[in-house]
């Protein structure tokens, strides 16, 4: 029997049991679609996080005071304080390194902002003009510490604060009071929303000197460093460590985190999560395979007489095996294709419902979904097909 004939004959068999075949295809399609939609979700989340991270800055090093023996666990360094300060002088030393394009010292605190008869507590970022480009922030209006105004008491308001305090008037040029000091609003940030647990819409940015006097401190919370290029990140990290060790009397008491390292960790975790979810969804493909096996066994049973006849008119065992094998293949192929379409459609709906989530199913997931479906179908057909092929023609013909 030629291949086209085998394909056609088994296709006819499938079409003659329409409802049954539809249900099997539906079951298979469900599994494939689940794999595709869930990986789209997982990979979308991964891309979302990666995008968010790169929106925070590129080629970024974060210098923070304190150091622990084990790099993973040092809540003190992240949350608390250390005896030795990281100072503005340290930041300037770092800024002079050849690998560094620009740097921004950072102090973070909370203070009360008041203006126009309103008052609220806000998060205050004290830094220099570089903070805005390094952190990829954008000003909707105005400027911050442009040349020539480096020492003036300027303040940049987050978008939400600007609209809260000055709902009807232009915020730029207004005077506000932060703690005990007066500031001139010089800029307003673009409305950004929450990103990585940090909402820039409700912060204010002031020059670092004012921030340090406001919080009565000489130590820095962080120094953000932008390196010239990606390839220089490692050498820059080492240079920063060496420079500050020298400046701190040979004490190795700062930590430098590269954005790449954090990003890689997140990327790895979310990738593993996507894989796990895809694996769980793939269990349903095995269930669909069991279903195909079951129905094919029933089909062999129902078509025993037909198999006997085919043998009587000269079909070889291989012909019969191939017929049932191809039948299962048709079913799983149809399930895989329909599942693929359903899955892509589901991902489309996801992207439609959550525009900020790039929910595209990765190619490997679509391929894996289809291939697992086909393999499940093929494995499922082996037992029924060999049963059919082994049937004794005389008994098969005798059976109604």
């Amino acid at each position: 029997m030629t291949l086209p004939d085998t394909l056609q004959l088994s296709f006819k068999a499938i079409m003659s049991y329409r409802l049954r075949s539809l249900l099997i295809v539906f079951a298979m399609a469900l599994g494939v679609a689940a794999v595709i939609v869930l990986t789209a979700l997982g990979d979308g989340a991964r891309r979302y996080v990666v995008n968010q991270f790169s929106s925070i800055g590129t080629n970024l090093l974060v210098v923070l005071p304190g150091r622990a023996e084990t790099s993973g666990s040092f809540p003190g360094a992240v949350l608390g304080q250390t005896p030795r300060d990281l100072t503005l002088k340290d930041a300037q030393l770092v800024g002079r390194l050849p690998q560094v394009r620009r740097y921004a010292p950072l102090n973070v605190g909370v203070a009360e902002l008041s203006a126009a008869n309103r008052l609220r507590e806000v998060t205050v970022l004290g830094s220099n003009a570089n903070l805005i480009p390094i952190r990829h922030m954008q000003l909707a209006q105005g400027s911050f510490l442009t040349q020539g105004s480096a020492q003036s008491a300027q303040i940049v308001l987050g978008a939400k604060l600007a609209s809260e305090f000055f709902p009807r008037s232009q915020a730029i040029g207004q005077r506000v009071r932060l703690g005990e000091n007066r500031f001139l609003v010089s800029g307003v940030l673009v409305l950004q929303g929450e990103s990585m647990g940090f909402n820039t819409d409700e912060v204010v940015i002031i020059p670092i000197d004012y921030a340090q006097s406001l919080f009565n401190t000489t130590s820095l919370f962080r120094v953000l460093v932008e390196v010239n290029s990606r390839s220089e990140i490692q050498s820059a990290k080492q240079a920063v460590l060496d420079t500050l060790k020298e400046s701190h009397d040979g004490e190795d008491d700062i930590t430098v985190i590269t954005q790449d390292a954090i990003l890689a960790t997140f990327d790895r975790i979310l990738h593993a999560l996507t894989l796990a979810v895809a694996g769980i969804a793939a269990i349903s493909l095995i269930v669909a395979g069991v279903l195909i096996m079951n129905v094919m066994l029933v089909a062999v049973n129902q078509r025993t007489a037909e198999i006997g006849l085919l043998k009587a008119i000269g079909a070889t065992a291989a012909d019969i095996r191939r017929l049932f094998f191809v039948e299962a293949l048709w079913l799983s192929l149809a399930g895989a294709v329909i599942g693929f379409i359903l899955g892509q459609f589901g991902s489309l709906l996801l992207r439609f419902a959550y525009p900020q989530l790039p929910a595209w199913a990765p190619v490997w997931a679509s391929l894996a979904g289809i291939i697992v479906a086909l393999i499940a179908g093929i494995l499922a057909s082996l037992l029924p097909a060999s049963r059919a092929a082994r049937l004794d023609p005389v008994k098969a013909l005798g059976k109604k």
Partner: protein, 399 residues
């Protein structure tokens, strides 16, 4: 036809096609097993996280400085947010429900002794800290009940800090330098292990006031209050607010009862568990489609038998019940098998992978079982109706 006969009849139809019955049931079984295994891991993680958080006691309220909210209208007082101080903590000692108060600061510093040094997390805590948080002291004692404004320079070591710096030696009485100051060791804590990657043993505890000096800092990071068990949380929070507002003039702090945190966390974990169950449910759904297919085939295959039963005087209701029971029995069987597989694998995981928390959630188990019965019923409905509607004459003729 009585119930026992019905059961017997259904049993015979199921055993007539043994392989088919096993395969159909295994579709459901895999789905149920997936749901149970996944929710077992989910439940295990939930319990693990909650127990990690409640090991310090649940009757704790934490006060942190600062409050975020916009006030409209005019307010006279303007100034930077006030710090939480030791005095605030002392004042709260006299709140009605307070059992213990603890003023807390935390940071990272180098500690040195006998030529060895190490960077550890330094906690500035009050003398009641160990009691409020159920921390056990291994050797010696915890920080003594000194005047919180001028405590003596004692230090208590975490167990890892102890072994790293002193090895097996008894450290009591030794002098330890923390940052720039010198402290005398008076105790070692019992090992506490790690919480979510925070090593609680690689620490030292010094009096709060001394820690503020080490870190050159004025305000506390938080004040913890352990209230009397059984006291109403709202009253505790109100009383704390009253005391602090009287001192600060306004509410420039945030009060978080641990119970609130716990319930938030619990809600999040519950949602996660449900999501995981839903993931497993996909397989169950596919298994359900399989059931529908099989019951549909069973009716088509047994048309003659149905005709015969009708001819012998079976009512339509009886035929419907027979098919419904067949599919329900099948799916329940699958559900039970899945339950055993899922629980078995969960149990094995618990044995083999020691740091993976696994716990079988019985509500989900019962839910899954009920679901498998329902799937059987639902899968049987349409085929059973079709079987019942068959015309006996036509049905008999098909043979």
């Amino acid at each position: 036809m009585n119930t026992i006969d019905t059961f017997h009849f259904v049993f015979r139809s199921l055993t007539a096609h043994r392989l088919r019955t096993i395969l159909s049931a295994s579709g459901i079984a895999i789905g149920i097993a997936a749901v149970i295994l996944l929710t077992s891991i989910g439940e295990g993680v939930q319990r693990f996280v909650l127990s990690e958080f409640t090991q310090f006691g649940t009757n704790i309220v934490t006060i942190t400085p600062g409050k975020v909210s916009t006030h409209g209208g005019s307010l006279g007082a303007i100034g930077s947010a006030r710090l939480l101080t030791i005095e605030d903590a002392i004042a709260l000692k006299h709140s009605r429900y307070t059992q213990y108060t603890n003023a807390s600061v935390m940071g990272n510093a180098e500690i040195r002794t006998q030529g060895r040094s190490r960077r550890v997390t330094v906690y500035g805590q009050g003398p009641d800290f160990s009691r409020a948080f159920n921390m056990q002291v291994g050797i010696g004692q915890f920080l003594p009940d000194d005047d919180p404004r001028n405590p003596r320079a004692y230090v208590v070591l975490g167990s890892k800090a102890h072994t790293e710096l002193f090895g097996g030696d008894n450290p009591l009485g030794a002098i330890l330098q923390v940052g720039g100051s010198r402290f005398r060791v008076i105790g070692v804590m019992a090992s506490k292990g790690q919480i979510l990657d925070f090593d609680l043993d690689d620490t030292v505890f010094i009096p709060t006031m001394r820690a503020l000096e080490v870190f050159n800092r004025e305000g506390l990071m938080e004040i913890n209050i352990a209230y009397q068990p059984g006291a109403p949380v709202e009253a505790v929070v109100d009383d704390i607010k009253r005391v602090l507002v009287a001192r600060h003039g306004r509410e420039d702090f945030t009060v978080i009862p641990q119970q609130q945190m716990l319930s938030t966390m619990s809600t999040v974990l519950n949602v996660l568990k449900f999501a995981v169950a839903a993931l497993g449910g996909i397989s169950l759904l596919v298994g359900a489609v399989g059931m529908v297919t099989l019951m549909h085939i069973a009716v088509a295959e047994r048309v003659a038998e149905i005709g015969l039963l009708t001819a012998l005087g079976a009512t339509r209701t009886r035929i419907r019940i027979l098919f419904l029971m067949e599919s329900t029995a099948l799916s329940t069987l699958g559900g039970l098998a899945g339950l055993m597989i899922g629980a078995g694998v969960a149990w094995l995981l618990k044995l083999l992978v020691s740091n993976l928390p696994v716990n079988i959630p019985w509500d989900y188990v019962l839910g899954a079982l009920a679901l498998s019965v329902l799937i059987g019923l639902a899968a049987g409905v349409i085929p059973a109706m079709r079987a019942a509607k068959l015309n006996p004459v036509d049905a008999l003729r098909t043979e």
